[in-house]
Symmetry: C2
Subunit: 581 residues, 2 copies
């Protein structure tokens, strides 16, 4: 028996390790786009440190909050948190915000390889710069189903000069003051607002003069000819949908949200907030030297005045080409912002990688759902406040995290009545602004999903309050990947089921719903916990654009959770009342 | 026995009532000085609502925090909180910050009449506008020892256009970025930045055109001739020391910090952050008509560029004079900012009102102290950070409030070693910047004051880091009034005791220490609790300029406290561990 114990120990230790990290979150002066501002830094850096792990590893992050008066949490985007729903890092949902001055330990297993990231999930702290990359490599003997000679990691974001506290107030007021388009786009936290590294192709721009320490100095990806590189992309933008391209190079898409996809070639690719991709770059596509533009530009939103310039980086063929040499032509031009046909073509090109080449044993979805929830995405006025609503409900979060309230049966912590599975007016016209008499309300109600049921969700887009406007919304599900069954135009009806791809739909954790269209997805409720499902656009979530899935409620009650996540609100009071002086 | 109970009940209910207030704290767009900004509002107004109570009343405030990610507390400045130290409203000291979304009930008795105020005491939330007035009237049959026909209340503050979150970061960085002088001074939350109501006397200024709803429209105090008015003044400035004057009118000082003083006449009076006064205005001092300037200007700090203009209000003799009529001459000129002789004369003029006319039964101080603590006020570098230090210690607050840590004996919640009662170098030269080898440290250590001992504190001012500079610091003590024994120049020695006024020193809760001088005060440690004693200049406290008195520790352990104040940090964990799933 003694030797048996050692055997198990040795086997486990050879495949999985425990990664111990100590993080300090604080505000720090920083110049993400060459303009001094304040960011939420982790261990003094922006973006936060990249976590590199191997599938099966346990990651322990001891996080200390050094903010002045604010709580903080960090969400591990794309990690399913099986068995650790308390570690999902969503304030008011999975845990209490970590108070200023306090320390909390996140501990979770990264089950599978892929390109992930982490970010704040309290107020609009993600917009304040609280984010970083989380890369999980395949564990031996597994390997990804493609080969490459080197890899790069690009975390994409957008940036405003207005501080986030003011943005929160502006978005919460009457009348709503919108945050506007970002001043800059950032690649690995770096952009240029008042100058351009491509100024020699555009006389209206100032040339950037970087000193060695410059925080806004662009990324340079150094490659050798005739190699294959994996470029990991993840978007943690607050608002912007992005298009990514590398001048003169086609890219092969091989991964989406930590799931392998059937490889396909593109000239450029769209990436929405909350999504990640891996693309392979073959450096055999031209002369074995030169510098090329890497560019991200905005999709799906009409450019502001002035328009947000693309963020640029450099692909450098070394050692043949000095980094200082200008690319031979102007930066590439991204597709026009409202060319949705282009975007939809890309979305529809993504199929799961199936068959023996996949080490993930991709499993197609169950052919039938047990329940279908249709979620109407609109804006509404509630008491004159402008809110996003889902089936006429604008999500407000309770002060007691759902997870603790459900575990301990504290029913008065949130509304017990369920929100509706469908928008209640069958005659609702998605092509027009919502009528003023929709009786939209604020609510913290949750969808209770029974254990192991197959759930379909149809995101139904519609006209917002302004006539002739419907926006892109990338929806992100916590605790799960889901199968993307399909996209469609107009109003969804059950007859559209025939359009569903049930053969090789890709698994994702984030999916876009296009203007005036619908998107259908499916997942199995096999992960007990309380999971947010929401538009990943930060101001939209702030304005109520999300729902909550309480999954396998009876199992949550029996689960062991880290009670330190729950010392606040009514769970805090329950603990307090257990103490006898 | 039954009738006896009723007798007591009736007597009590005839003199004291319970005031129930429901407050919501939120950020709100506001234009305190005609420039749109964001304030911390209470129930939608800035400054917060004025509380009016009668001595002996109990005030219950049910406060809900509607901020987005920040905790909040409110301190009741000047209220001694006897028996309710948990209600003092100091984050990390008397309670946990109230989390966003949560509700907390403050409950305390206002023991004596006077002019008080309340304000945020977490981070720099006071600077963000979280303040208001708290007026306590005498309870029958008591009366104040002077008569008046009407009263006005003026709450004085200063205002910056830079948001407070940025100020906090700037003050906490390397190098320190100071907040600079305020853009505006405010009277009852109203100032004018981009215009002047006295523009007809100064061509360089724009005339203000107020609409009816204008939030920055100045106060108008309407008086009738040949009457006496009580004007209550309180300063909750973040930085500015103020001088108050009413053109053409002498003022009679009658109250300071809720204590009656021997009446004396002044042309103008200085008021430091944390102080309050009542002055009597006799409207028999000139013609029975006219409009006169009420003005506050800055003392003790060199004017910035541009200088902060005085805040103005109007004294209007009605019904003889229309409000719209301009005062007949330019606003009065305040004493020069560095005329400390003028300021000291005023400070030394303040004596307690003694004898039978005082209903407060003023008691002179004990003639001898049991312990004397001398606190050296300097700046120091600590790991390159610029900090204010007291006896070489820069105060940092623990994440577990002291009150709970002491009550429950959680020794690891803060440093148990006591800070020093004296600065350790007898040769320290207060006239020069501190040496770089002072080994200044951060600490959360507390002074433990045994029950009912007589404590002297000598505030010793000194040169700050910049040569030739020493600043004014108004120190505020929580939980107590103290006797102001005296002020002196240079370095204090015990021989200076002979200068102490032990006959009629005024009782105060805030006292100033002048540049390169000392101030001595005395109090009895008769109020079990944990009390902050700190410079009331908000950035100075933020930079560590304070100490903590833990008073009657053994009695704290036996006291009943509102445990809801303590559900955080190690007390929160202690409660949590009491709970068995």
């Amino acid at each position: 028996m003694f030797s048996c114990f050692w055997l198990i120990f040795l086997v486990q230790s050879s495949v999985a390790k425990v990664i111990q990290l100590k993080w300090e979150v604080e505000y720090k002066h920083w110049s993400p786009d060459c303009i001094e501002s304040v960011v939420m830094a982790i261990n003094g850096t922006f973006p936060g440190p990249t976590i590199e792990a191997t599938a099966g590893d346990t990651v322990n992050i001891t996080l200390t909050n050094h903010l002045h008066t604010e709580g903080v949490v960090i969400h591990w985007h794309g990690i399913t948190q099986k068995g650790t729903p308390w570690a999902d890092g969503t304030a008011s949902i999975s845990q209490c915000a970590i108070n200023a001055g306090e320390t909390f330990v996140y501990s979770f297993t990264v089950e599978k390889a892929g390109t992930f990231f982490y970010h704040g999930h309290y107020g609009m702290q993600r917009s304040a710069g609280l984010y970083g990359s989380l890369i999980v490599h395949e564990a031996e003997p597994h390997r990804q189903p493609f080969k490459y000679d080197g890899e790069f990691n690009l975390l994409l974001s957008d940036w405003w000069h207005q501080n986030v506290h003011r943005q929160e107030v502006d978005l919460s007021g009457v009348p709503l003051v919108f945050i506007g388009e970002p001043q800059s786009l950032l690649i690995n936290g770096k952009g240029q607002y008042n100058c351009s590294i491509a100024a020699h192709f555009d006389e209206s721009k100032n040339v950037c003069n970087f000193t060695e320490k410059e925080q806004c100095k662009p990324e340079i990806l150094q490659v050798k000819p005739n190699k294959k590189y994996r470029i990991r992309l993840a978007s943690t933008t607050a608002l912007a949908s992005l298009n990514f391209m590398i001048q003169g190079h086609k890219l092969e898409v091989v991964e989406a949200d930590g799931n392998y996809v059937k490889p396909f070639l593109v000239d450029d690719l769209d990436i929405y907030s909350g999504e990640s991709y891996s693309v392979l770059l073959n450096t055999n596509q031209g002369p074995p030297s030169g510098n090329y533009w890497i560019s991200i530009g905005i999709r799906g939103r009409k450019p502001g005045k002035p328009p947000t310039p693309p963020a640029l980086a450099i692909l450098n063929y070394y050692p043949m080409t000095p980094v200082s040499k200008h690319p031979s032509s102007a930066p590439p031009v991204h597709p026009v912002w409202d060319n949705y046909t282009h975007s939809k073509l890309f979305s529809n090109s993504i199929k799961a990688l199936t068959g023996p080449k996949s080490y993930l044993n991709y499993k197609p979805p169950p052919l039938k759902q047990d329940r279908r929830i249709v979620l109407l995405n609109t804006q509404n006025y509630i008491n004159n406040y402008t809110k996003w609503t889902i089936n006429n409900i604008s999500l407000t979060l309770p002060s007691t995290p759902y997870l603790g309230a459900i575990k301990y049966g504290i029913d008065n912590a949130f509304t017990q009545q369920s929100p509706p599975d469908h928008y209640n007016s069958p005659n609702y016209n998605i092509n027009y602004p919502p009528p003023r008499d929709t009786n939209a309300i604020h609510s913290n109600a949750v969808y209770k999903l029974p254990s192991n049921k197959v759930i379909d969700v149809v995101l139904q887009n519609a006209n917002m309050l302004t006539e002739g406007h419907s926006e892109i919304h990338p929806w992100h599900l916590h605790g799960h990947d889901f199968w993307v069954l399909g996209y469609g135009e107009g109003k969804f009806s059950d007859a559209n089921e025939t359009l569903f791809n049930t053969v090789d739909p890709p698994l994702r954790n984030t999916v876009v719903v296009y203007p005036y269209g619908w998107t259908a997805l499916r997942f199995e409720a096999d992960n007990p916990g309380v999971w947010a499902f929401h538009c990943h656009i930060e101001p939209h979530l702030h304005m109520g654009m999300g729902v909550i899935f309480a999954e396998a409620v009876e199992e949550i009650k029996k689960m062991k959770v880290n009670k330190e996540a729950l010392v606040c609100g009514l769970t805090g009071k329950m603990f307090m009342n257990s103490h006898r002086d």
